[in-house]
């Protein structure tokens, strides 16, 4: 017994099976977490190694090079980059997409073990750092304060960080831009000199005084007591009373030589906030800090963000009255907006498809049966999402929206045939079984062609692969479920719900009679067109080819892109002042600009900027460039629906505003906050060469030339400017003369300027550094440095000026390397109207024409490289898919000619896409490429239906032309119906207005235009081509027959 007859004969079993799928699917839905993107594991691993006190060049030779040489042998490595700056080496390993990063990390760890012997002894052990989508902060809060600023760290740590950490799912909560408390012992060098004291002595005395020592146990009578010495300071002021030495019989107290300052860190990153506080108060450029909240991996971003926000008023109540919390970034709102707009798209699509089906079928019951497949197949895909540990995200929901228009196709074909049988007089039950039986093969075949397209999508390599793996799986699964449904549930429902002679009410007549008449007229018209074309075959074919080839000229005016820049409402701005600018100066100008921006752009929801040098133990900040001359901003705009100006437009205006300030040396305005996906597109020119001067010169020349290229918004040079620094050149002979060596004097110098941290002050369970150093007023000039006294073993004090010279020098702050060569990269960012393909071509031309020394080589990378890689991958995939589709068709028709004819609908899909993209001025990017690949499977469906029925007609004994015209007339409605459901199903996506819709716009546009146009041409061209091929075949067979007849006659 076949599948469908079982299904029809056992309606309860069938219904319950699908009910079970729905229940399980809905259950999965409740368990799915919601996120913006699928979990994308990073393809980059960073190895961070600190080498205290080494300069960029030292780090490059001693650490980065050694690391690169060893790590280069890790498998699946794409690029190895390193950046060597003072004290730190960051080696970035970029792997091919799809590499198992956990395994790669283990490999790296093994290699690092090998390399440890070749590194200098003082190098700290390397840290391996991965940054995945899970590490993206889910909520960023702002804190502002007035009087409480100095104690803010402690207040927030106790009252905000700890409670937030207790929320389940919250990973780490970190504070940024909020200075920590520190206890400084500011010494007066003159007094120290007078009492013959050094920083080292004081530091060690403090360490010795500030200790708790257990003294063991003591037995007294029948009891045992433990003995302890509690020497730790209980108040910072106690420090002042320590005796640090004696002079002329009198005690010298610390207060005699130093000032104890219990304050915040001296040199910290400061943050300034523009935001609306939880109390509804708007403030601009107020000092404060940022609280960054990350989630645990795999946790639900939306629910955690909501929990954090729910907790905010409660936390605010516990804070001092001048401390205000505010929200800068809340990913949950953008996720919710995006997801809601997608759900809206899905509902609109559903309704559109419903009306198309109703329009053609004209029967409520039939429409109901067909539409039922949509929720069932969509819900079934939730089971896959849960089983594979995925989330509800942009990709998975968009896949649902893409699939809606296609899932009804199978059901429509089955239902249409069953209805035919019923109209012929079969009992609904028999009709359901036979009707399904007849079309089962072609339904399965058309599903197979779709699978031939979507299953290979799960194997796309690279960045696009990560995005489209889910799309491929979801659509494949939905197609499979809908086909199974079409072969079981649909016949079962038909047998139960359809009636032999349904009574038609007046409303039906009123509504559907004109539609019916119209459709009849269309059928008649189409048959007439076909009768003309099958006679005038050459004209039709030449005209069609003409249309195709002339559409190729449109390619010239269609812009290309990689991924569309998504309007996530975030802008990252970096202002760079001349090297060495004091933080206060940079900060004041930034505050002024903040005021200006706040007035000019009411779209700004919240903004924050940090200024100043980051702490060395702040790993996150040390990866980004920072320094007293750099100010970096994070600007958050209100959501897309609430503002008129787009992200790019605002960015461009900001760029113009920043140009007005001559103080700013370099400014960078990046849409999307510099995020990797959907961030701003750039063409990167890599300049490779060892000699700094040479590469700098080339960079300057190229920058001048490239900035003239149309469509470039800004150019950024990754090599930072040479930083001025003071170096102390010691004379080794003089050092030896005084019994000193380089290390000793260097540490003397460091302890006085940077300070020596010898001990910790403990209070309420927290530890604060006690740092001993010169008071600020004694370390402000070169004389101050030269006057530093170094004590040798004999206790004799010698001034630095007697040991060496203080000289000013310039040195590169960072040395970047890629694939083991020194590199400098120019990032040319595209502005509005910039077309990636054109800009890259122009830049390539500039590089070819430029006069570049032979020791320097250039290369183009960045978005352009990614685009080229992805386009190549997708092109290959497209070819593979066409071949697969051909195989499926050839197998179904048991012929090579028929699939060949059907494949002629493909070129016109391209024509439709080109026309659509050119008319709407949509760029051709990865998303449209995916749309084109999807079209390969979709457009052949119409051809299959037409050719299949034509062959059937011929088998029934019709003449070729008659068979073609008849097939056309009888198949026009199903073809129009399935096409319209798919095309109209794509339209809500193609016109998408909601947040995150930019991503899918071009894909929807591509599929809608490609399919619509290809269908129009297919309907005329495919029958014509078929007639030609069939005629030729017939003529050949006749000739062969007459030849064999002649042969026979001759033989006789």
């Amino acid at each position: 017994m076949s599948l469908y007859s079982t299904a029809v004969k056992k309606p309860i079993l069938t219904a319950l099976c699908f009910l079970a799928i729905v229940v399980f699917g809905l259950f999965s839905l409740t368990r799915l977490s919601v996120d913006l993107y699928p979990d994308i594991e990073t393809n980059q691993v960073m190895v961070i190694t600190a080498y205290q006190g080494a300069s960029a060049a030292d780090i490059e030779t001693n650490v980065s090079k050694v690391m690169e040489n060893t790590l280069n042998s890790v498998s699946n490595l794409k690029h190895i980059k390193s950046s060597s700056k003072e004290n730190i080496s960051v080696v970035t390993l970029e792997f091919e997409y799809g590499t198992d990063i956990t395994e790669a990390t283990n490999d790296i760890r093994d290699k690092l073990d090998q390399v440890s012997n070749y590194l200098p002894d003082e190098v700290s052990s390397p840290i391996i750092f991965k940054f995945g989508t899970d590490d993206i902060p889910i909520v960023i809060l702002s804190v502002t304060a007035n009087e409480s600023m100095s104690a803010l760290y402690k207040i927030l740590d106790d009252k905000v960080v700890n409670p937030l950490n207790r929320i389940s799912g919250v990973g780490t909560v970190s504070l940024s831009g909020i200075p920590k408390r520190q206890i400084y012992v500011y010494c007066d060098p003159n007094k120290l000199e007078a009492y013959n004291l050094g920083i080292e002595t004081i530091s060690s005395i403090i360490a010795a005084e500030n200790r708790n020592v257990p003294g063991g146990n003591i037995d007294m009578g029948s009891n045992t007591f433990s003995l302890r010495v509690q020497g730790e300071f209980s108040d910072a002021r106690e420090l002042a009373d320590i005796v640090v030495g004696s002079y002329n019989g009198g005690n010298i107290y610390l207060r005699d030589v130093a000032r104890i300052d219990d304050r915040t860190e001296e040199r910290a990153q400061e943050a300034y906030i523009t935001n609306t506080s939880t109390r509804g108060e708007r403030f601009v450029g107020k000092s404060g800090g940022i609280i960054i909240i990350q989630k645990q991996s795999g946790a639900n971003s939306v629910s955690i963000s909501n929990k954090v926000l729910e907790k905010m008023p409660e936390l605010q109540a516990t804070l001092p009255s001048d401390v205000d919390l505010g929200v800068i970034v809340n990913t949950s709102t953008s996720i919710e907006n995006t997801i809601n707009s997608l759900i809206e798209t899905i509902l609109v699509t559903f309704i559109v498809v419903l009306f198309v089906v109703l329009f053609f079928l004209g029967r409520w019951r039939a429409t109901f049966i067909v539409m039922l497949t949509i929720p069932i197949s969509l819900i079934a895909s939730f089971i896959y999402l849960m089983a594979s540990g995925n989330t509800l995200n942009i990709i998975s929901l968009s896949s649902l929206s893409i699939a809606i228009g296609m899932v009804v196709d199978d059901a429509i074909v089955v239902l249409e045939n069953v209805t035919n049988h019923i109209e012929k007089g079969s009992e609904p039950k028999q009709a359901a079984i036979h009707g399904t039986n007849e079309v089962a093969i072609s339904v399965i075949a058309s599903t197979l062609t779709m699978l031939a397209v979507f299953l290979p999508l799960t194997m796309v390599p690279g960045m696009a692969g990560i995005m489209f793996r889910q799309l491929g799986w979801i659509v494949s699964i939905i197609m499979i479920v809908s086909t199974i449904g079409a072969l079981t549930l649909i016949p079962m429902l038909c047998s139960q719900l359809l009636r032999l002679n349904p009574t038609k009410g007046k409303i039906y007549d009123l509504l559907f009679s004109p539609i019916e008449k119209g459709l009849d007229k269309l059928d008649y018209f189409y048959a007439k067109v076909l009768s003309w074309t099958v006679v005038n075959r050459m004209k039709t074919i030449i005209l069609s080819l003409g249309i195709f080839f002339s559409s190729l000229f449109l390619l010239k005016i269609i812009p290309t892109e990689f991924f569309p820049t998504m309007d996530g409402g975030r802008i990252g701005v970096t202002l760079e002042f001349p090297m060495g600018t004091r933080m206060e100066i940079a900060r004041d100008l930034a505050l002024k600009i903040m005021d200006e921006f706040n007035e000019k752009y009411p779209e700004i929801n919240a903004a924050s900027f940090t200024a100043g040098q980051a702490d060395t133990d702040n790993t996150f900040a040390s990866i980004q460039s920072n320094g007293s001359h750099i100010v970096s901003w994070n600007i958050n705009l209100s959501s897309v629906g609430d503002r008129e100006r787009g992200l790019e437009e605002i960015c461009d205006l900001m760029r113009k505003d920043l140009e007005k300030y001559p103080e700013i040396k370099k400014s960078k305005v990046l849409a999307g906050g510099g995020a990797s996906m959907g961030g701003q597109t750039s063409v990167d020119v890599e300049i490779i060469g060892y000699d700094f001067d040479q590469t700098n010169a080339v960079a300057k020349m190229l920058t001048d030339k490239i900035s003239n290229v149309k469509g470039i918004a800004s150019i950024n040079n990754t090599r930072e400017e040479y930083a001025p620094e003071y170096q102390v050149d010691f004379d080794r002979e003089k050092l030896a003369l005084h019994g000193l060596n380089m290390t000793t004097v260097a540490s003397y110098l460091r302890n006085r300027i940077n300070g020596s941290t010898s001990s910790y002050y403990r209070e309420d369970g927290d530890e604060y550094d006690i740092t001993v150093r010169y008071a600020p007023q004694f370390r402000q000039s070169i004389e101050d440095l030269e006057n530093i006294i170094v004590y040798n073993n004999q206790g004799k004090g010698i001034r630095i000026r007697d040991l060496g010279k203080v000289v000013e020098k310039m040195s590169p702050p960072t040395i970047e390397r890629k694939n083991r060569e020194r590199i400098l990269t120019l990032n040319a960012y595209l502005g509005p109207g910039g077309v990636l393909g054109d800009v890259a071509a122009e830049i390539q031309q500039i590089l070819a024409d430029a006069d570049i020394p032979s020791t320097v080589s250039t290369n183009i990378s960045g978005s352009f490289e990614d685009q080229q890689d992805t386009f190549r991958d997708l092109g290959l995939l497209g070819a593979l898919i066409i071949l697969l589709v051909f195989i499926v068709l050839a197998a179904q028709f048991e012929s090579l000619t028929d699939p060949f004819i059907i494949m002629f609908s493909l070129p016109f899909a391209f024509t439709g896409v080109f026309i659509g993209l050119a008319l709407t001025n949509t760029p051709l990017g990865v998303m449209s490429m995916i749309g084109i690949i999807m079209l390969f499977g979709i457009v052949v469906k119409n051809g299959i239906v037409l050719i299949d029925y034509t062959i059937l007609n011929r088998e029934r004994g019709m003449a070729i032309k008659q068979a073609v015209v008849d097939a056309g007339r009888s198949r026009l409605r199903p073809v129009l119906m399935t096409t319209l459901t798919t095309v109209l199903g794509m339209i809500p996506m193609a016109v998408g207005l909601g947040e995150g819709s930019e991503m899918w716009k071009s894909m929807g546009m591509t599929v809608a235009w490609g399919l619509a146009f290809s269908t129009l041409i297919t309907l005329v061209l495919i029958p014509t081509l078929y007639t030609t091929f069939a005629k030729n075949g017939l003529v050949r067979r006749r000739k062969a027959f007459s030849r064999s007849l002649k042969k026979q006659n001759n033989n006789i």
Binding site: K424, H434, R956
Partner: protein, 97 residues
């Protein structure tokens, strides 16, 4: 006793068995999924791609007096659904065991 050979579109199967029951003819032999076509207008039923649909056939040995009523019932069914196709042929039975 007469042999009645009924050839029909398989969709009729359940109805014909019902008619046999109603006309008190218990015994029959049935073939399902067989091919055939009508002599004048009957569409081919080949179970193929071009001619989907299959025929069924039932041979029933009927007492002479019941033949007329059976044929009447079958004709009624055929007229109800002319598009499906149903024919019955009556033959003599020479002998039986």
């Amino acid at each position: 006793m007469k042999a009645v050979f009924i050839s029909f579109d398989l969709a009729h199967y359940d109805n014909i068995v019902k008619i046999l029951d109603r006309t008190s003819n218990r015994g029959f032999t049935a073939w399902e999924n067989i091919q055939g076509r009508g002599s004048k207008t009957g569409e081919p039923h080949y179970g193929s791609h071009a001619w989907p649909g299959s025929n069924g056939a039932i041979m029933s040995m009927v007492n002479d007096e019941r033949v007329a009523s059976l044929l009447r019932e079958l004709k009624k069914l055929d007229e109800l659904r002319p598009a499906l196709g149903l024919r019955a042929f009556v033959m003599n039975v020479e002998d039986c065991i």
